[in-house]
Amino acid sequence: MTGRILMTIAHRAAILAYIVFALFPLFWLLKVSVTPNDLLYSEGVRLWPSHTTFEHYRFVIENSAFPTFFKNSLIVACSTSVAVTVLSSLAGYALSRFRFRGKYAIVALMLITQMFPLVMLVAPIFKMLSPLGLTNSLTGLVIVYTAFNVPFATFLMQSFFDGIPKDLEEAAMIDGASRFIAFRQIILPLTLPGIAATLGFVFTAAWSELLFALMLISGNTSATFPVGLLTFVSKFSVDFGQMMAAGVMALIPACLFFLLIQRYLVQGLTAGAVKG
């Protein structure tokens, strides 16, 4: 009896320790973003500054190109996540349900694309995109991000489709649905958790991507937020307060996004589909 209680306490304590560990950097981000510049170096290491300010936030919004970066990032991340999710749902469904010639070759090819360090690909991609006028453009970024995320997202979606019994769409087809209608009305609603996970995964990946954004984009008009953050680093100093304020604001869409989809992430929709 006491053993069980002790186990529970240990379990909760371990979870708590993990949460503290995981959230501490975020807390520090917040703390620095509200610390006035004059206290940043003068107070030593403290958990919370003696007085706080929103000056950094005001400055970033009013005087920097941050709103542009933010808008660009939003466009790129939303377009990429939607494009990848649509493509990978269809591809994942095909891999899960159909037998076709070249299936294993395609799977192998997709796996191989995941093996190269991205840095190797920067130069050839730049070479390909620049004659097409896709460097320094958000469209170019969306295309590159989509290409890189589709293979993994496809495998992810395939595993979600694999978890949905084939009987369901067969029942729908016998009920009078075409395969596509069965996919849309029966299978997709049941894959919402998978779709939400894929959307979330791709959104955050595109939102925080730095390497290609840095290489393919020059100048502020098409820069995304991670590139924009670097503008707070000048030759002589780093403006930590403003950088952190921008960082906190950059977190907001990701947080909102996950709040929106978390309902689907935790839902076990398929329970009760077949015998149970």
């Binding site: 729908a172 649905a177 209608i181």
Partner: protein, 357 residues
């Protein structure tokens, strides 16, 4: 309602042949049961009728029209899956009305059809529930309801009762029979359970290893099995088999069993003198008599309530006897039994029937 005809239908998955040369005519309103051991190709055959599997060779016609290449949705048949395959994100009413909604029937028509079906199946209190909030038996009913709301040309059932417990299975079996009597719809029912086959079918199709062994009325298969497979598969406990040698006389044949027991038959069987044959007799037809012809060692006594199953050893082979005589519950080491000749089945070496007495 419709007739279904299969003509020389075959199926292979790649090079692996699963069904060959299946010929079957299902008349309008018939209840046909496909029965056979697991893996013999019953589900595959059913799914070919449904349009869920391609037909490798042969022709499938529904109401005289060739439908080999018709999509499932255009065949107008309904199917009850072993897993029930209820749509988990829809409540019971929506599950049942899905096919009608796909066909864009009016709201009133749909409501009437759903309430008629749910009334028949006793599902009225559950219409608003999701499948996961139902018991196994209720889910099974919803699956049935989904099939009957739209009055299809034919019903297909793939082991619909195999996930239910014994009592519920018996109850649903009776209910399916009642529904069929009421709706009179052409039905094809797959099961590996020979009791289900016997009780439900107007005709049974006994299958083994991808080919049809015998087609006939349930009691036909029971009384006149065409070969050793059907003889052994239909009936529980299964038929007993004993090997012997045929001796032809002027009027009748005699089977000589291995220890020299002679069993004169009442007819002459079409076999060569000296040919090895297999005798079959059902456990309930074996009689116990103090002056019986054959010695049997008693191995095990199983009272079933209705009767007693005796596991015997005859000539080193296991042999079963079913009796309602409770006196035989008394432990005893040996018995003497008779094999009444009017109850014998005789099969040749390739397993085909030579004679039924």
């Amino acid at each position: 309602m419709a007739s279904i005809a299969l003509s020389r239908v075959g199926k292979s998955f790649g090079t692996h042949s699963v069904l060959s040369e299946v010929d079957l005519d299902i008349k309008d309103g018939e209840f046909v049961v496909l029965v056979g051991p697991s893996g013999c190709g019953k589900s595959t055959l059913l799914r070919m009728i449904a349009g869920l599997e391609d037909i490798t060779s042969g022709t499938l016609t529904i109401d005289g029209q060739r439908v080999n290449d018709l999509k499932p949705k255009d065949r107008d048949i309904a199917m009850v899956f072993q897993s029930y395959a209820l749509y988990p994100h829809m409540n019971v009413a929506d599950n049942m009305s899905y096919s009608l909604r796909l066909r864009r029937r009016s709201k009133e028509v749909i409501a009437a059809a759903v309430s008629a079906a749910s009334g028949k199946l006793g599902l009225d209190p559950y219409l608003e529930r999701r499948p996961k909030a139902l018991s196994g038996g209720q889910r099974q009913r919803v699956a049935m309801g989904r099939a009957i709301v739209r009055k299809p040309k034919a019903f297909l059932f793939d082991e619909p009762l195999s996930n239910l417990d014994a009592r519920l299975r018996e109850q649903m079996r009776a209910e399916i029979k009642r529904l069929h009597a009421e709706l009179g719809a052409t039905s094809v029912y797959v099961t590996h359970d020979q009791i289900e086959a016997m009780t439900l079918a107007s005709r049974i199709v006994a299958m083994n290893a991808g080919s049809v062994q015998q087609i006939g009325a349930p009691l036909d298969l029971y009384d006149r099995p065409a070969n050793l497979f059907v003889a052994g598969f239909i009936g529980s406990p299964g038929m007993n088999f004993l090997e012997g040698r045929c001796e032809q006389g002027p009027e009748n044949s005699t089977v000589v069993l291995s220890r020299g027991y002679r069993l004169p038959l009442s007819v002459r069987i079409p076999a060569a003198d000296g040919e090895t044959v297999t005798l079959g007799i059902r456990p309930e037809h074996v009689t116990v008599a103090p002056d019986g012809q054959i010695d049997a060692a008693v191995e095990l006594v199983e009272p079933t309530g209705l009767g007693i199953i005796l596991h015997l050893i005859v000539h080193g082979e296991s042999f079963k006897l079913f009796t309602t005589d409770r006196a035989l519950l008394q432990p005893q080491a040996t018995l003497r039994i008779n094999l009444p000749k009017e109850r014998l089945h005789v099969f040749d070496q390739s397993g085909n029937r030579l004679a039924v007495m």
